[in-house]
């Protein structure tokens, strides 16, 4: 199948992070500081991305602020005509640095919050960052850029969803993104303490639907549901190799955050290969592009053009076969795997969870 053009570039510019969130979307094996691409290579990547038709750049990590050249990176992206979005914990941001990022051309900032309650937020992040985030939100509002508050929800904080939405209103976010934890990497390790109960999930949907209606025109509310309770899978990354390229700190180009879990895939590096070649020709991007790889029931399913068979990494992690139908789909012959997980969670236990915290890549490499 021919590749259509990508629209978004996710640049994981570093895996270093002062937070240790128990649901971090980074891979378990991270790239160390000495492997990180220098400023000028990123600048070339941004220019190639714009030539490929990419419109939006998402600067993420780790914590992007850990890179001292962040405002330079933003300036080069903006020069290449990209819309720049910074996804950050806020740790490392000051009033002066924020002003410099905006001056460099930053369009949008997404500030993550772990909870509405300080102690609970700090427990999830494995560090004290909550109070700082509240302070930063006020500084952001003084600048001319879009402000999204990101909230990851799970069993431990879902009952405080109305409070968390109220916090977003108080901080006057332009947009609120509420995402249920997705179970890959660190989150998969902590799944037993994060997966909500079915009744929590159903209640959260009611609360979000009502908030959306009430806040229309004032604050956009976007929502990512919990896969395990879905009837059909999510259109992961908008389909494999269909609209997104992710580049890790060392320059490897991946079709999604978690693709490294799929055995046998080789990810070409932007230092060795042209971005257009990687998008159009590289084996990793072609592997699950289109419909040729699909098994039944996807192959003959009417929904295959909407969800593209769901998530390849989830299929790998839950069934051991990356080319299987995403088992969260109720039509999947392997759906029992997911049901047996969800059916074991009916109540929220009161004991403090035994978290596996995300570590920093410096200590992750030998």
């Amino acid at each position: 199948m021919m590749a259509s053009g990508p629209l978004s570039l996710i640049a994981e510019i570093t895996h270093r992070c002062p937070l240790h969130c128990v649901y971090c979307s980074n891979p378990l094996e991270m790239q160390a500081r000495q492997c990180e691409l220098p400023t000028e290579i990123w600048a070339n990547v941004f220019a190639s991305a714009a030539q490929l038709g990419i419109l939006q750049l998402h600067l993420t990590g780790g914590e992007p602020l850990a890179r001292p050249d962040l405002s330079e990176l933003i300036a080069t992206a903006r020069k290449a005509s990209l819309y720049t979005n910074l996804i950050t914990s806020g740790v490392g941001l000051s009033e002066e640095r924020l002003a410099a990022l905006v001056e460099a051309g930053l369009d949008h900032i997404q500030l993550s919050f772990q909870d509405s309650q300080e102690a609970a937020a700090n427990e999830i992040a494995g560090t004290r960052a909550h109070a700082l985030k509240i302070e930063l939100a006020r500084l952001i509002k003084r600048q001319r850029l879009a402000f999204t508050m990101n909230l990851v929800v799970h069993r431990q904080n879902l009952d405080r969803l109305p409070e968390m939405i109220a916090l977003a209103e108080e901080l006057a976010a332009d947009r609120l993104e509420i995402a249920h934890v997705q179970y890959y990497g660190w989150a998969l390790r902590n799944r037993d303490s994060l997966l909500p109960t079915r009744s929590q999930w159903e209640r959260s949907l009611e609360i979000i639907t009502a908030a959306r209606k009430r806040l229309e025109g004032r604050m956009r509310v976007d929502f990512v549901g919990p896969d395990y309770y879905a009837k059909y899978p999510k259109a992961c990354m908008g389909g494999w190799g269909r609209s997104v390229i992710l580049i890790d700190p060392a320059g490897r180009a991946l079709p999604c955050h978690a693709a490294g879990v799929i055995p046998g895939l080789l990810f070409d590096n932007v230092q060795d290969r042209d971005l257009r070649w990687i998008w159009e020709q590289s084996p990793a991007f072609r592997k699950f592009r289109g419909e040729d790889w699909m098994p039944e029931p996807c192959r003959s399913c009417d929904r295959r053009t909407q969800d593209f068979g769901g998530c390849r990494c989830q299929a790998m992690l839950l069934t051991g076969d990356a080319a299987a139908t995403d088992p969260v789909c109720t039509l999947s012959p392997m759906h029992g795997v997911v049901e047996s997980i969800t059916s074991s969670f009916h109540e929220v236990p009161t004991a403090r969870p035994d978290w596996v915290y995300r570590i920093d890549p410096v200590s992750a490499v030998r």
Binding site: G53, S81, D174, R175, L215, G217
Partner: protein, 93 residues
């Protein structure tokens, strides 16, 4: 929700801007989204400067395009701006 009216003076919110991409044509870039502008979309947006109100934007376009049915221009402007307002893309003054 505050409603859009003839007296509203819309302008794009911070973090929403027209693309200058040579590859993709007329698109409005917004947080986590791309809206393709078809028909009169771009011409309408270019007039959303926070000074002109909706009636003035309509009159402005009607005088620039005298061959087009004025009622059609009015309804297209209203529909387009209402849709953007629902997406949280506009400050409506």
């Amino acid at each position: 929700m505050s409603a859009l009216s003839a007296a509203s003076q819309p302008k794009l919110r911070a973090g929403c801007r027209l693309s200058d991409s040579a590859q993709q044509g007329d698109v409005l870039l917004i947080p986590e989204g791309v809206l393709r502008l078809v028909g009169p979309g771009k011409k309408i947006l270019e007039r959303c400067d926070g000074l002109r109100n909706v009636s003035e934007i309509i009159r402005d376009l009607q005088s620039e395009f005298p061959a087009v049915d004025p009622a059609r221009i009015e309804s297209e402007v209203n529909t387009f701006l209402e849709r953007l307002h629902q997406k949280g893309v506009l400050d409506i003054g």
